[in-house]
């Protein structure tokens, strides 16, 4: 472009000026390559967005030529109904039989629902009769109260069925141990209903955030909670009340206990078992180890202790020896206030992961001093950061020594199906031999060991240690 200097005279006036020459073309199109660059950048941006969308659509293709699985349901109360509704969305299932002792109410409801979907099923009050009469069953889904799980599961396994059993695996460790034994002896599958183990968001965070990238760094502390608003005791329509002698036959003193079994010793485990076990299961999964000790404070502080034998409030501290070193985990469940709902929070020296089964809740926060996460954003493991606002000056006294809040990266994976569907799908795919169980009996057992000791620790009023052998069968 030196000629610009050489030809100042010609460029301003004269004939030369009007003719279009080579130089004009070059200068006229000089900025065109920018469009090429723009196109390339746009292409890159679009492939990134596409990758993010693909990660979002986590649904697996429905395999063709499914062989039907013959299914029975044992216990169709509140949770049995939830599971049934999820199963009705899974192809390749033939419902054959339903069993529940509340024949006039829950059993009828389930049979009617199945009828609407053109499944004709046999209804049973006694599960033994069902196992005797129903030949050709492949699998059973058990959602009876916790204290029935061991007996129901063991008998079903021995009858040759694969079993999906709701958590808590059992209300006693002895029961849980016998369930694992029966599984081993029969060689059948036993999946425990900790459904977060199959939740795409939880799997994504475990595989990408925890394992592959280790973006949180060294995790030294964990916290989590399930806070629930005050709830009245569960009632029943008076005209469907069951006679006391029949209730007693099945281990319940009266209708109130039959409906609110969770709160009673010997039947359930209270909120720490009911709610906490889901989340304490995640602690062990993500930390890659079982706890070594537990301290806990709890009690029935708010509700009537006669009908709430188990603690309505529990605050728990676990210690873990993880492959990375010592970690402490706090867990709280209470039933008098719902602030902040339920979540688990893993805190490493490079970042924080907040995750919840609740839709839309899942974010990673990078510590300001940590290495950049750009690569993980590019790969679609986490979303581009949303910068958290620093409080406006003046509204809060800001201290220069305070650390700047970490950027929030949303976890780009969500579940748009019913919560329990992926876990049930995993079970049925395992029955077909196409997948491994995400929560086999031994994992359910380890979680039961960790969780049931909380109630013991509250009673003992001191720190209890776990012998590593307790987790091994």
């Amino acid at each position: 472009m030196n000629d610009q200097k050489r030809t100042p005279k010609d460029s301003s006036t004269g004939e030369e000026k009007k003719k279009i020459n080579r130089r004009d073309f070059l200068q006229g199109a000089a900025t065109a390559p920018v469009l090429g660059l723009f196109g390339y950048a746009l292409y890159k941006q679009q492939s990134y967005e596409k990758a993010q969308k693909a990660a979002l659509l986590n649904s697996k293709p429905v395999p063709s030529g499914l062989s039907d699985i013959n299914v029975a349901l044992l216990g169709v109360g509140a949770q049995g109904d939830v599971l049934l509704n999820a199963m009705l969305k899974i192809p390749g299932l033939k419902f054959r039989a339903v069993c529940d002792i509340w024949t006039d109410f829950n059993l009828k409801k389930a049979v009617n629902l199945l009828g609407k979907y053109k499944h004709t099923v046999n209804a049973y009050e006694d599960y033994r009769e069902m196992l005797d009469k129903e030949k050709g069953l492949d699998a059973v889904v058990i959602a009876t109260p916790d204290f029935w799980h061991a007996q129901h599961t063991i008998d079903c396994l021995k009858a040759g069925l694969h079993v999906y059993c709701e958590k808590e695996m059992s209300n006693t460790l002895e029961g849980a141990r016998k369930m694992v034994q029966a599984r081993n002896e029969t060689g059948k599958l036993l999946q425990i209903g900790h459904q977060r183990r199959s939740h795409p968001k939880y799997i994504h965070c475990y595989e990408k955030v925890i394992q592959e990238t280790k973006m949180l760094g060294r995790i030294a502390t964990v916290s989590g909670q399930w806070n629930r608003a005050v709830q009245p005791d569960i009632g029943w329509p008076e005209k469907y009340a069951m006679p006391t002698d029949r209730l007693k036959k099945f281990g319940f003193q009266n209708m109130h206990q039959f409906r609110n079994w969770r709160w009673y010793k010997g039947l359930g485990g209270g909120p720490i078992v009911d709610l906490g076990s889901h989340q304490i299961d995640i602690y062990s999964w993500y930390l890659g180890s079982n706890p070594i000790s537990v301290m806990a404070s709890g009690g029935t502080d708010y509700y009537e202790p006669k009908t709430h034998e188990w603690y309505d409030t529990a605050m728990v501290v676990y210690e873990y020896d993880t492959p990375q070193g010592r970690a402490r985990a706090f867990y709280q469940t209470q039933t008098t206030n719902s602030a902040n709902g339920y979540f688990e929070c893993f805190m490493g020296d490079q970042g924080t992961l907040v995750i919840s089964e609740a839709g839309g809740r899942g974010s990673a926060y990078r510590e300001k001093s940590a290495p950049a996460w750009d690569e993980w954003v590019q790969k679609g493991y986490i979303s581009a950061p949303k910068v958290l606002e620093t409080p406006a000056a003046g509204s809060v006294a800001l201290d220069v020594r305070e650390t700047v809040p970490a950027d929030e990266h949303k976890i780009p994976v969500e579940l748009y199906d019913p919560y329990h569907k992926p876990h049930l799908e995993n079970f049925f795919n395992a029955v077909r031999g196409n997948e491994k169980l995400n929560c086999p009996a031994e994992i359910g057992y380890e979680t039961a060991v960790a969780v049931l000791k909380v109630n013991e620790a509250i009673e003992a009023g001191r720190k209890l240690t776990f012998d590593p052998k307790e987790f091994i069968l």
Partner: protein, 161 residues
């Protein structure tokens, strides 16, 4: 006609750089909205504050008008962006760009005491990035660098012929 003797090469190239960068920004703003099939100015317009808010809110409340405004905005951004990058009808593109930016600016002006529910990054008082970009376009318009580096060079010669 730009007087290439009046400015040094360095000055001209700097203005071309400014022009191309602003063009890139316009082009991508337009294309990004085009690709987001559900994009609409409705959120932005209905937040409007200050003396013109009546007009902007009327647009937001009027589906047909809103649709026209949305389309004009998207294709306006794209055409202005292309014009600025390629140096094609540079002056027209610059003035159109200024007009568009001032519309954004006056829809939600960063004046003392006005707060918006759409979160804004950074801190602004009266002058915000919109206003700076508009001023940048004024420089581009005033110097007309399309005839230095850009299609305008060819266009003007054709016309003169």
């Amino acid at each position: 006609m730009i007087d290439e003797k009046k400015y040094t090469k360095c000055q001209l190239n700097a203005i071309v750089l400014l022009r191309v960068l602003i063009g890139w920004h316009f082009l991508y703003e337009g294309i990004a909205k085009l690709m987001k099939s559900d994009w609409s100015a409705v959120g932005f317009l209905s937040q409007s504050k200050w003396i013109f808010s009546g007009l902007f809110k009327w647009i937001a409340a009027n589906p047909t008008v809103l649709e026209i405004v949305n389309q004009m905005n998207i294709y306006g951004l794209i055409l202005i962006g292309l014009g600025l990058i390629m140096g094609c009808f540079t002056r027209i593109a610059s003035y159109a760009g200024i007009l568009l930016i001032l519309l954004y600016y006056f829809c939600n002006p960063p004046f003392a005491g006005l707060f918006y529910s759409i979160p804004m990054e950074g801190s602004y008082l009266i002058v915000n990035k919109n206003l700076v970009e508009a001023a940048g376009l004024l420089v581009v318009a005033a110097t007309g660098t399309g005839k230095y580096l850009g299609l305008d060079r060819l266009i003007s010669k054709w016309i003169k012929k």
